[in-house]
Symmetry: D2
Subunit: 411 residues, 4 copies
């Protein structure tokens, strides 16, 4: 399955080493579609808050593959049969599961590639690669799409305890330095098993699951939903929206060819042919940053004001408010902004805006995390826990916030 020449070991500060298991995986990793992930940060603008969070989607994808190798090893040790073909398909599917992410995904999905989700683009990439690699990705694609007959393989790729989460919580916690999110992925993986074709966690692993869910909750509040970085993301979405608007008005904005394409065209899912995909594959964080740096000097005040805010980290103030006061506070800050920053009515939405945050560590409606007791009973982890602790984690929590320029408080 491997040729010595291509057999590679990569350093990882977290796991020590990541081994590339087969030449096919090596070749997929070498493909420009995958190499582009080197230039897309996993946590987008979070490094504005946590300066260590510079790690890339490339490294995360490798980490997921490593976690999957551990999982296969543990399950086989417990006498669960996984064929060599299935094994490789698992590695491919998890390696490529996020390949459809663009730069600053959340901001992009609400501005540049509207209404196309990154999972859909991942699938498009996989199918394009499957053609190039003469059908060798077919099984991986089946599993990724959730169509394969063996359910636990699908769950390893996508579920509330999948290998994606095993890596990203640990990796994001590691690089951001937010120790509250550190989970013991290897310990958790040691505890998994398969029963009636379904992924389960052995009873003694229940505290590891509890730790994992609590860590997830804390990572959401402290990282993914950190109000400053969520605010920065919204800012970027506003910038891209404005850039698109100006472009539609015929104003030529400096931008890379790839970015220009998406500013000039409204791309729906149906439009995503090979040419569009190749354009998309050329987009990464560098295009955005280069554009923002040019745009900070543009004559359009909205574009330049907001671009400058990100490039030079003059971020907006992000104010938490209650649901009830949301509308009135929004009005209040818009009025203030209009006066202090001298913004026109129709541009106020670019300067004062808000949204809500939602945090739910465990989703009651999704496929549950299952515990297998010593007597081989299967129960939902919420039932297995000894107290209300975990039940509380399944309650979604909402927070509302409003962003506005800090200068509106100045005289």
């Amino acid at each position: 399955m491997r040729s010595e020449n291509k057999l590679k070991i990569l350093n990882d500060p977290i796991y020590g080493f990541i081994t590339i298991p087969t030449t096919l995986l090596y070749d997929l990793m070498q493909h420009p579609y995958f190499q582009r992930l080197r230039r897309i940060k996993q946590m987008g603008l979070s490094s504005l808050v946590y300066p260590g969070a510079e790690h890339t989607r490339f490294h995360h994808a490798l980490g997921c593959m490593h976690m999957m190798q551990k999982a296969v090893q543990v399950l086989r040790f417990k006498n669960i049969e996984i064929s060599n073909e299935e094994e490789q398909a698992l590695y491919i599917a998890i390696l490529l599961h996020d390949i459809g992410h663009g730069p600053f995904s959340h901001a992009m999905e609400h501005s540049i590639v509207e209404n196309v989700q990154h999972e859909e683009i991942s699938l498009l990439f996989m199918e394009a690669l499957n053609k190039e690699f003469e059908g060798k990705l077919s099984l991986a694609i089946e599993i990724f799409k959730g169509n394969y007959s063996r359910r636990f393989l699908i769950q390893l790729i996508s579920s509330q305890l999948d290998m994606d989460r095993m890596d990203y919580l640990k990796r994001d916690s590691f690089y951001s330095g937010v120790a509250e999110g550190n989970i013991n992925s290897e310990r958790l993986i040691q505890m998994i098993n398969v029963h009636n074709d379904v992924l389960v966690v052995e009873e003694k692993g229940i505290y590891s699951v509890e730790k994992f869910l609590v860590a997830r909750r804390l990572m959401y509040w402290q990282c993914y939903l950190h109000k400053t970085s969520v605010g920065a993301e919204l800012l970027l979405a506003k910038i891209l929206k404005r850039a698109k608007q100006l472009t539609l008005q015929g104003i030529d904005l400096p931008a890379s060819n790839a970015l220009k394409f998406f500013l000039e065209n409204s791309v729906l899912k149906a439009d995503f042919d090979k040419a569009v995909l190749n354009n998309f594959a050329l987009l990464d964080d560098a295009d955005i940053y280069t554009a923002l740096k040019n745009w900070q000097f543009h004559t359009d005040k909205v574009l330049s004001y907001l671009s400058n805010a990100i490039v030079n980290r003059k971020l907006f103030h992000v104010q938490l408010v209650t649901k009830e006061e949301f509308n009135s506070r929004l009005d209040h800050y818009q009025a203030l902004c209009k006066e202090k920053v001298q913004v026109r009515n129709e541009e106020l939405d670019y300067f004062v805006f808000g949204d809500k945050l939602r945090n739910q560590a465990y989703d009651l409606k999704a496929d549950p995390i299952r515990i297998i007791t010593k007597s081989k009973q299967i129960i939902d982890v919420l039932e297995a826990s000894d107290q209300y602790n975990l039940k509380a984690l399944s309650e979604p929590v909402y927070k509302y916030f409003i962003c506005y320029p800090k200068s509106i408080h100045k005289n």
Copy 2:
């Protein structure tokens, strides 16, 4: 010295927390000149070899300041007097010591900003900031230039045991995952002292110094001089040289405004006025990557071939050779390349090229690392060590290599 409002704590995966000690330092950090370091990777193209090495010069600068805070604390604990003014100057000088780095510094210094060293540009930035901050950086600049009366303060900023090295060896080792380079910076700093105005290490710290020098040597071979990343850097220097050449020929290459400026102008040190500096301050890794991605499709074969090699990680083969065979091997590979890749004579230097690497962990001719014995004698660390081990580390080692496209070996 601090106003609560600006008092900030930053997360660092290595040290836990970094505290910003004064509002002046906070304000300097907020300046666009410093914020740009967020977009320049500390290890340049090394992430092509070590995917974790994505950390920025911004984070390194903060880490140096943190190490300096430890050093001040240790020295004061040992009754060395350091005034509050000197303390802050130390923090400023170390925070800004690398502010003059451009993106992919080594490649740049041999192509874009020829004959101007990053230390010189750092000083230009500091002086510009000193004007803006009304002279508050004057003492820091004196120390940085090596003009201050108290010698050990200068040594903390720049010497064979300065706070820069304390942070970068540890940080680069941490993020690259090359454990051989991990040093115990805090332990080393615990061991420093001052005697007759000169920085010394207490005798019991001699093994820590030995470990530090060995780690430095290993980091050079495994990271800074890793042949693949050195080869990639040379490749980038060739690309920038070609781009400049084409630009001089009147060919308009797609590039950001800032990059265009440096392609169009030969900038000497004397030319570095405020406007040039501001242009330089707009340059970062994103400009280079965006350009390379555009250039990989350019009609100039040299430009597109080499750009593609970096963007899609189709790096050249890097062959170690002896000093004696260097010239003949270079001729050999150029001939091969001419035939296989169909390169014109005058472009051969862009496709087949070489250089030498130099590794010297401890420089005998520079200001030595001094050990203070229990009887208060000062001796060079080489004399203090119990064996030839350290002496060996002061011998420079050279390696020669040649880079060429992998395709010249194909049929």
Copy 3:
């Protein structure tokens, strides 16, 4: 406050270094009363379950002092005044807070030194030391007893967020390898402050408190209340009880002089004069292990059977049962045991016994952990949290178990 000669730095795998701040603290550490803690393991018999958990009460005491140094540093940085005398008293009080622990404390307190708690013995030791050190511990003793006027100093020594917990959760998690219990003590300490003489945590630290309480809960289940080590502890208590019983019957058991003293005498708190204290100070883990090794060959079957169970790790089975079935299961196993192991009726309690475990991460009735909001309001952490999660942690959870020899299941 310090003389160079005695100024010491100690290595700690967790914190890197621990500095001894004053000569008085150095001298206290050198005292045989304190040095004995080197021979008492922090987690008693837990190393039978977690082989890394061999760390001593000596090291924990130093770790607490180190945490206290951090706390003092943080509070002073926030302009809370702490005099040098108070500072040293804090270090003394936390260094000595556990000095009254005997070997395998939990087993001892139910057998050898009945009805005298280790806190009381700690106080006796402190008072004896205070005499030797001519009153220099008086302030520390006031704080330890909770009598001092400044309440937050008392809370740093003993509360639901004291420096003892800061160290032991981290240390026990580190050495046992139970990663679920790892807390970020330094981060938590960064967040403390004092308001109206009371210890508070700043609002942004609320997730760190949540993590801390969850970690505490998990450490209880996985370490402190691990059924196997709790079972081993009960076994040891039974052995000591039996040894005392046999001694009362005039049977001379091999034992060190110190252990013999406590086997021969029923020591109440009132009996604890200097001579008794000195005898107690001679007791450590070695006395117990040496005795057990001798006793495993004793003619008394109870003594030898149980001693062998610990020495050679032939631990009893520990069966979790419900509260309701506890009594009937106890009867059942005693009957089985009587038959299979041939135990006499009056000795059955030595072979089959049970107890209940209680886990409550946060005590609603004790002094609460207080959060201070940005508007300087003080609220209980339970109120400050955004969900039921923390409330759940204040519900005590009970588990019942029964221990019996594994051999009763054999034919």
Copy 4:
């Protein structure tokens, strides 16, 4: 090969988890001969210097087995055939290689069990176990004795790059907190291979070997040969020698039965029958500590003075001297001691004594560490390195020292 019931996973703070691969290994671990290693500290009296160094020979043995599992995995991945029987024999041999250690081995070997080395006793234990386990250890014993036909298997157990060193350097560095000794064992093991039946390291691993040898050198100076702990060890050897002398004179010293046996009998290798072995198996650190605590009050001044020095950490001063001045300094301190501590002539050797330390990181005369180049040449690591650095490490370095009571400097 494994029965689910006995399949166990153990926590290890260093590696995360250690898996017990077969039931035979589980059963060997449960044997009292092996369980006793729980009560013997790996680094003896070093915890008097490094308070974290409380880890046991039990844990080290498990760590070695874990390293061996990694080595087998790596070699098989590189297509080196290792049969299941050989695999298990490797695990057994490395698990038991140190089973013959008594408590405070170095002190013991020069006093209690004179002229019998721990390797010989290890072999005696293995042979006794082989009888009990009906010959299942025969292959392991062959390998341990160096008699097996496949040489690299022997080298994995015992050589300058064996799995013993892989674990102990890492483990001792971890627990002592001496970061200079931290090696990347997993990385090194990734680099091993077998060529012509001999263990080799791949060329790219040369820096890891260099780091390993330097770490070894530093660990010797900072831990194993730390003058304070070497001094404490000599002190203990003196105590045991005195105890034996007094016992021979008919004085009955309090001691456990096992210790008494070795005080009363001069045991040569030929005397080591099953009964002696069983007596030896009862000895551990607890016997020594319990004895020392009793002996500190003995009427024999030598015994009580020295015992008190260890129990209460009133260690002797250890003075480094040159080889030339050794004898004269020894005379000088003996004369001083005679006067100040009032020691009789014939007892002076118990109070003032010295020795030499020897540190050689790499032994030129032993089986070398072999590097395999890309062209499959085998060369000694010294030849493969690019400088004198490694050659220097093969020079033995000697230091001379003298120990004496600190009180001889008082008036």
